[in-house]
Amino acid sequence: MTTVTPPAPAGPSAYWALNDSRALIGRCLRHIARSPEQLMLMFFLPIMLLLMFRYLFGGAISTGGVSYVNYVLAGIITVAVTFNATATSVAVCSDLQEGIVERFRSMPVRGSAVLVGHVVAALVRHVISIAVMIGVGFLVGFRPQAGFGQWCAALGLLLLFATAVSWIAAVLGIVAKTVEGASGLSMPLVFIPYVGSALVPPSTMPDGLRAFAENQPVSHVADAVRALFTGAPVGDAAWLAVVWWAGIIVVVVPLAGRLFRRRAAG
């Protein structure tokens, strides 16, 4: 048996942080194709939702000048992002439960690298899921008017939103005591887009609800992305969305790190 000596852990610590993150991102990426639950949340559920709203409910919903499918696709994508977030919560929680985090902690691994692995893999899932949703959208009649700049802006905004939601999901996964608890805690996240402008125009809602629906942060994302897709004026939605979700990232990322360290040490 040969003896293996690791290189002295000298070298810039940023280098090792990167090394650890890369290894752990690779780990979470391998999980994607092997976990039916993640695949279901990435593809099956959002596609079903799109078809349901397009063909079952869409006819009964009035969206003014735009066709319903052009209206709803941006909203369905925000819902798909929150679906995927459920899987992130569950993955973080089960890592903490199964003792593997304990092993990482006894190794020269940076704790934050475990979370980075989960969030980056989550972003990869989001990107694939968003691309597939846009593709299916085209098949069922989605006809965007966006130019190159508008596409970039729309996708950038969705990426910002997905990043923030992934960190929120990580926090929920850390806070939950059990895997079932983790998917329960992320339920509200899944429902927030519904209470907004994602799937139906809030104009028909009762006043109080409508005020909430028009001003909550997921609606800003859906409104801005929809306007960019359809070539309509974006108004305040885009910058409101950026401020909200960038703000949420600034709060949630350090919170996730702190909670993770505390939970892992308990």
Partner: protein, 311 residues
Amino acid sequence: MEQAIEVRGLRKSYGDIEVLKGIDLSVERGSLLALLGPNGAGKTTTVRILSTLLEPDGGVARVNGHDVVAQAAAVRGSIGLTGQQTAVDELLTGYENLVLMGRLFRLRTGAARRRARELLARFDLEDAADRLVRTYSGGMRRRLDLAISLVTSPPVLFLDEPTTGLDPRSRGGVWETVRDLLASGVTVLLTTQYLEEADQLAGHVAVVDGGRIVAEGSPSELKRHVGAERLELTFADERALAAASRVLAAEEPRAGGPLALSLPVEHAKDVKRMLDQLAESGVEPDRLFVAEPTLDDVFLTLTGQPTGGTR
């Protein structure tokens, strides 16, 4: 020379419950110490503190010369840990698990891959190397877990109940590996509820109970502490047994009990004396042997309860 593991007055409480009440240990480089104790004795708590997973409330612990609190990073660089709870990734293959851990132990990718193949072969997992761990049996998982803690050939190894749940063959395999590691100079701290395991491996045993070390020594020292060796005699029939117990002034054997006598022996010459007495009166034992007290007896005497994990 400095000890590989040095622990003084280690204390830890959870809320009001004090689970470690001042543990002292020292393990020489290249030797093995078995922490032997029943459920809840504080074995895992001790291992978790020594592997930097938990901070002690009091006391000092040094591993490979580094303080576990002040120099936690240095400690992590010199230990391998196989915890009581299996810690492998179910959605990776055995090979991928080992490569991942190699990378996290800061090996280059090529070295991590070579090491993974080597360990899979050593732990008899080559055939399962490319299957998801989800499909492994409990014993295979445990072997993989152990292999992971050896990825970097750490000088100090902590094994928390490494053979719990393994069949006798796998258990023998783990013991074999531990002996090899000791021969190559690794220091091992192992916890177990199985006296047989301590007996098989340990140069040194520390018996833990209720958060304290209640006895320490080599297995044979501990046994001596408990009492003398015994001469065990078996006889062909009841008549010979009755005659022998009269001659040797042993307790009256139970009717229908085993055809055996067990007599304390202080010195070797006691054996000769007893055998001579039997020969003079014409009683011949069927078989005889001299038995050491078992670690089970030690355990019972020291902790006042039978072992947690007798098999």
